[in-house]
């Protein structure tokens, strides 16, 4: 039982990281209808920026600065190329970002080298903590707390601020938002930057446990993608829920049959799609033609 609890706990922590990545992904997908293959690279950039910064500025400052820097990268990508695919066939966005992701991964290799690095967890969060019923890594608990905090902040932003209202409105009827005098291109750039920041922040907090490599971006992309489809495109809590489902199912299946643990998310996703094409909590499926 204790064993199961620890697997569950791990799944939850894993799922929370996934959820943060997926939230950014689904925000971009929901508002711009672009399947953003660069999202994994933005995650990796977050991790690399944090790795480079932490030595100089420490954990907390890097936690703030690195995602912002990723946001700037996202902003540039959107302004320079990605915005050109809006409104056209979604396949364009998909293929364009596919190519961008390839190029950017190479840029990471050129800048930081091919090898991986480990990223130190902050000293105060090193080691483990006795929770009574189990012993658990302090950093992971910190990570879970941070992830929950981020998710709540995003939620508050979307639900309680005027900007959030504009973004939500833009996701359901972009043209109308524009006709009411809102600068849609700027809003889209902003949303892309926010999505990038979320990818970046997930990269920062995940770096100490996964270490950084040029390929981590590709590795996180597919789970994010599965989560977004599973949870329902554009659905906030759908992404969080699906993130947890993917995290927990991956983790718990290790206990029973480790070999299938990385297939499980895909199986769940395929099954859900067969019976509920819009995903678990999708309200409107922007992907259905």
């Amino acid at each position: 039982m204790t064993e199961f609890l620890s697997f569950l706990m791990n799944g939850v922590v894993l799922g929370l990281i996934f959820a943060v990545v997926a939230l950014g992904f689904t925000l971009i997908l929901g508002v711009m209808q672009v399947i953003n293959f660069t999202h994994g690279i933005l995650f990796a950039l977050g991790a690399y920026f944090a790795f480079s910064m932490q030595k100089h500025v420490g954990f907390w400052l890097a936690l703030i600065l690195a995602p912002l820097l990723v946001g700037v990268v996202g902003w540039l990508l959107e302004r320079l190329v990605i915005h050109r695919t809006y409104g056209g066939n979604p396949l364009f966005g998909l293929l364009l970002t596919f190519g961008l992701a390839m190029a950017l991964e190479e840029v990471i290799r050129m800048v930081w080298g091919k090898a991986g690095y480990s990223v130190a967890a902050p000293r105060f969060a090193a080691g483990s903590l006795d929770l009574g019923f189990m012993i658990y890594s302090k950093y992971r608990l910190l990570l879970a707390a941070l992830a929950i905090l981020i998710i709540l902040l995003v939620w508050l932003f979307l639900e309680k601020t005027p900007y959030g209202a504009i973004i939500k409105a833009g996701a359901s009827d972009a043209e109308m938002v524009m006709a009411l005098g809102k600068n849609l291109p700027r809003m889209r750039t902003f949303v892309f930057a926010i999505g990038s920041v979320l990818a970046g922040v997930a990269g920062v907090i995940a770096a100490p446990i996964w270490s950084v490599r040029p390929t981590i971006g590709t590795a996180i992309l597919m789970p994010a993608f599965v989560i977004v489809v599973l949870g329902g495109i554009g659905s906030f809590w759908g992404s969080v829920l699906a993130g947890l489902i993917v995290g927990v199912s991956t983790s718990v299946s290790v206990m029973f049959w480790a070999q299938i643990s990385d297939i499980i998310p895909y199986v769940i996703m395929t099954a859900v799609l067969l019976f509920r094409p819009r995903g678990l909590m999708g309200e409107k499926s922007v992907l259905e033609v």
Binding site: T85, L95, E288
Partner: protein, 324 residues
């Protein structure tokens, strides 16, 4: 005859030029020496042509077609190593098993369209990727399968051709490519093929004409899967091995890119041109620059932004319809 030639005009037929160019390839100075690269171009051309039945003719953006290529590759390898050493057996199985897989997956996706179709095909192809990696007893896992020989081509007692030299295998592949190209040409210009194009233009209207669109999409998926699988089988015989890496989603992206790059949405032979440019440029780039992936990715971006209808579309084809 007369009226239908609108269909024909649209595809002014460079077929014989293409065949001739491939036939003469080994005699082109310098690059002609690189027979197995040529073989690879022919194989990927076949794969892309098969894929284009879906993308170009039916308007279905499968983003997981690498799965069928990979399944075909493994089917040939496994059949050769486990069941029977032969030439035609493995090739037949590669098409058959990939066709069966396509029939099953086609069932899941036949009612879907657009990006949604792409999403599901990506997901399903990932499942095959993991199976290939995990089911070591069958697929050799990460190490893959090797030791798959090219058996002699021939009729016992009459004729024997040793296919192990690269040049003879090149012409063997080319012969199959020509046969399949004629077949695919035939299919896309058949009544069936026209229904596919009708669905690409307007699926709703096609069903209101009385076409069972889901069944047609399924059939297109299966036909496309058959050719992709056969290409995979030929590939296994080329490299004498089969690896799980062929099932990776980036491979699926590559075939989409080849098809678009050449202009598969506007011309029957777009995929062939795309495959040739794609493979040769990749080979050259990676030989001369360690960070070739950077350039490669940027080429994607440039193609999508500036020549979305592909090179043949640029030269002058019908305005592409699949992607906008």
């Amino acid at each position: 005859m007369g009226r239908g030639n609108a269909w024909r005009k649209r595809l002014a037929n460079p077929m014989w030029a293409v065949f001739l160019m491939f036939a003469l390839f080994p005699y082109i100075p310098y690059i002609g020496r690189y027979i197995s690269l040529g073989t690879e171009v022919v194989i990927w051309s076949l794969f892309a042509l098969g894929f284009n039945i879906l993308l170009g003719y039916t308007g279905l953006p499968s983003f997981g077609h690498g799965a069928f290529f990979g399944i075909g590759a493994y089917a040939a390898g496994i059949y050769f190593l486990r069941v029977s050493k032969g030439l035609w057996g493995p090739l037949f199985m590669s098409a058959l098993i990939a066709g069966i897989a396509a029939a099953l997956i086609g069932f899941l996706v036949a009612k879907k369209r657009g990006i949604y179709f792409a999403l599901i095909t990506i997901a399903v192809s990932q499942v095959f990727y993991f199976i290939a990696f995990r089911w070591d007893d069958l697929t050799g896992g990460e190490t893959g399968l090797s030791g798959i020989d090219r058996m002699d081509l021939g009729i016992p007692g009459l004729l024997r051709i040793d296919l192990s030299p690269p040049l003879t295998y090149y012409y063997f592949v080319l012969a199959i490519f020509i046969l399949c190209t004629l077949l695919i040409w035939r299919i896309v210009h058949s009544p069936f093929g026209r229904v596919l194009q009708a669905m690409r233009e307007n699926e709703l209207r096609a069903s209101y004409l009385g076409y069972h669109t889901a069944a047609y999409k399924w059939a297109a998926f299966v036909v496309s899967g058959l050719f992709s699988g056969l290409a995979g089988g030929l590939y296994t015989l080329l490299i004498n091995s089969a690896f799980a890496f062929v099932l990776d989603w980036t491979q699926s992206g590559n075939v989409v890119m080849m098809t678009l790059l050449g202009g598969g949405t506007v011309n029957f032979f777009g995929p062939v041109l795309g495959a040739a440019i794609f493979i040769v440029s990749r080979d050259l780039l990676s030989a001369y620059w360690e960070s070739w992936m950077l350039l490669y990715g940027l080429i994607f971006v440039v193609v999508i932004l500036f020549i979305p209808s592909g090179i043949l579309g640029l030269i002058g084809g019908r305005k592409q319809t699949v992607l906008r």
